[in-house]
């Protein structure tokens, strides 16, 4: 299934059946979970309850939620330091993600990783990688292992537009295509590599076009439209699973909040942010569902209320959770059976 870059995503009839009202509600719930969780994180950060670098995904929720629909529990995920959304929709329990923000033993990385390094091997979620482009070679390795053992697994690899400037990105695009590896590359193009706009960093800003030159199918997708993302991701993942080699999605999206909690946002106009907020992925889906009679105000309020209480509960659990004992500082530098 070879396709030139920029070509439209093919229609697949099997998808349509799943896009009913109930499914939309689940997409909405997941996007709201990410948003409300992260709003709480921002609040906790301001209150100095959580520290370190915290990179919010707000505005980009449709990407994580849409792509996740195309993955099975047996697939592998490699993500970035802006990974709260990917982790939550993958099913890493809210309590253990919140506990990780607090650096507690009950966190999904025992508190040792923090916001940027969420891991859950039982869900095949391999971080949480905070070196731009650094996760791509790992994804190549997972896919290579699957290929060598005849597994039908897909490895979904998330990274941003900033990674496209890294040498590792190009090494990995080439290797994935050369070895025909089952990787779904998910480029979250939010138009900024930290504070550097895409056109100030890239000579060719059409990232799907560039990926296509490596000989893999590469499609641009409206990353603010969760249904479009799901549709493209299902098509791409199905093709990868069927042995069609690596596929590349350029998910065009936008980060509404600052790069991290330290960022005064001197590099972009407020007007630009406002303009993108009109395409808020959550509001767009809500409008669509209301127009189709799929969502009432009461239902939305009930969903919000439930999420708010889950987040509050996770907060209470995290605050009360034990910290790693200092005596265990050097535990896990080497495996227990090694040291």
């Amino acid at each position: 299934m070879s396709r030139a870059a920029g070509e439209a995503v093919p229609e697949v009839t099997t998808v349509a059946a799943q896009l009913d009202g109930g499914h939309h509600k689940e997409l909405l719930r997941q996007m709201l979970l990410i948003r409300r969780f992260e709003e709480k994180c921002a609040e906790l950060y301001s209150a100095a309850e959580i520290r370190g670098f915290v990179h919010l995904y707000i505005g980009e929720e449709a990407v994580a939620v849409g792509v996740n629909q195309a993955l099975t529990p047996d697939d592998s995920i490699v993500s970035t330091y802006r990974e709260h959304g990917h982790a939550l929709v993958r099913g890493i329990p809210l309590d253990s993600v919140m506990a990780e923000m607090y650096g507690r033993t009950t966190g999904c990385s025992r508190g040792r990783g923090g916001s940027m390094h969420l891991f859950d091997v039982s869900r095949r979620f391999y971080g949480g990688n905070a070196i731009v482009g650094g996760g791509l070679p790992l994804a190549i390795g997972f896919a290579l292992a699957d290929r060598m053992r005849g597994e039908e697994r897909v490895t979904a690899c998330f990274f941003g537009d900033g990674a496209v400037a890294e040498g590792e990105f190009h090494e990995c695009m080439n290797l994935a295509a050369l070895w025909d590896l089952p990787v779904l590359f998910c480029c979250e193009n939010n138009l900024y590599a930290m504070g550097t706009a895409l056109e100030r960093a890239q000579a060719q800003t059409d990232l799907a076009l560039r990926a296509g030159t490596y000989g893999m199918a590469a499609w641009p997708v409206d990353g603010m439209d969760v249904i479009a993302v799901e549709h493209a991701a299902r098509n791409a993942a199905e093709a990868v699973r069927a042995g069609g080699g690596p596929h590349f999605l350029e998910l065009r999206t936008y980060r509404f909040r600052a790069h991290s909690m330290y960022d005064p946002e001197l590099y972009r106009d407020k007007a630009e942010v406002e303009q993108w907020r009109h395409r808020d992925p959550i509001e767009m889906l809500v409008r669509r569902m209301r127009d189709a009679g799929e969502l009432s105000d009461d239902e939305l309020a009930a969903t919000e209320e439930k999420l708010a209480s889950q987040i509050e509960a996770s907060l209470a659990v995290a605050r009360a959770a034990p910290a790693e004992p200092v005596e265990d500082l050097t535990k896990f530098v080497y495996s227990p059976e090694s040291s």
Binding site: G113, I140, F332
Partner: protein
């Protein structure tokens, strides 16, 4: 084979036998790197293995150090047992991100979930007039990093035996093969097999001074020790073998016997492995010392091409002997 069960072999052949054994014994093992297959390995270590095991398990890669080292990390996490070959330690710097930021950190950063059972082999060291981008000894840098093991096989036994043990380790192991050793010839037990990768070894016993070294300078140090004997200096030679973790006990026991130490390291002196060994002796065996610890290291310069300058830049038997005489006097 000779009557006593010994076979004549080379360091290169011993390494190849180790790789072959690993591929035969464990389906999860594969070799990956630049020119390991059709070319036969840039130092001919893997010559013939492609024909024997096929291109899936003897996997040629593009010139993409970061991607194929990282792919080795990912494959190891996914349950494989990759052996990744990097042509030289200088090239490994292109993969330093993957080694440092992923291989060494993933287990701790993930709270114990992601161990990386990966072996990376690479060539190190000078002596072949290949100048300043193919000759350095940077294994001391790697020995700085918690989370990895660093090995330096200096003998045929270790070339033959370290790999299998390294592959059984749940964590990343880097094996540094000194480029001047590949043609080293000698006798090896026909049934030679896995060796321990944790201890230093006394390669020559002596009571007057401890010469502490590893890898490519072991031969030079042993040669210096033999010549010192004629001068009445009885030198002990310690082969570190494992550069991380260091076997402090063997080092300190030797220093306690000889009361004098010279560290011989082809790496640079400043901020180096030799500095680390010296510091540990000072910390742990200060009152055993009868003289300050001495070091013989490479000149603080990029490695030059012409033979006379390269020789002058490197530790040599003469400079090792001079250092030994000084601490003994």
């Amino acid at each position: 084979m000779s009557d006593d069960g010994q076979v004549k072999t080379t360091y290169r052949e011993a390494l190849r036998a180790a790789i072959r054994e690993a591929l035969q014994r464990d389906d999860r093992v594969f070799l990956m790197g630049e020119d390991v297959g059709r070319y036969g390995g840039c130092f001919a270590v893997s010559l013939g293995l492609l024909e024997e095991f096929g291109p899936e398990r003897i996997r040629d890669t593009p010139m993409s150090e970061s991607a194929f080292v990282g792919a080795g990390i990912g494959a190891a996490m996914a349950g494989m047992r990759p052996i990744v070959e990097i042509m030289t330690v200088n090239f490994s710097l292109l993969a330093l991100d993957q080694i440092m930021n992923n291989a060494a950190t993933l287990l701790h950063m993930s709270g114990g979930q992601c161990n990386v059972p990966l072996v990376i082999r690479m060539t190190t060291g000078a002596g072949r007039q290949v100048a300043a981008q193919h000759s350095h000894s940077l294994e001391g840098w790697y020995a700085h990093i918690p989370g990895i093991r660093v090995l330096a096989p200096a003998t045929l036994e270790d070339a033959r035996g370290m790999l299998w043990t390294a592959l059984q380790d749940p964590d990343p192991v880097l094996i540094f093969e000194h480029g001047s050793l590949y043609n080293m010839q000698g006798m090896l037990a026909a049934d030679a097999g896995p060796v321990d990768i944790r201890s230093a070894k006394v390669r020559r016993e002596g009571g007057d001074v401890s010469l502490i070294t590893y890898g490519g300078t072991l031969g030079k140090t042993l040669s210096a020790a033999e010549q010192l004997k004629a001068e009445g200096i009885d030198a002990e030679v310690i082969d570190l073998r494992s550069l991380r973790p260091l076997d402090d006990a063997t080092i300190m026991a030797s220093v306690a016997r000889t009361h004098r130490a010279v560290i011989v390291d082809e790496g640079w002196r400043a901020g180096s492995l030799s500095a680390e060994v010296s510091a540990r002796i000072t910390e742990q065996a200060f009152y055993e010392l009868d003289a300050p610890v001495a070091r013989v290291c490479s000149a603080e310069a990029p490695m030059p091409y012409p033979r006379h300058l390269e020789e002058a830049a490197l530790p040599q038997p003469d400079s090792i002997m001079a250092a030994a005489r000084q601490v003994v006097s």
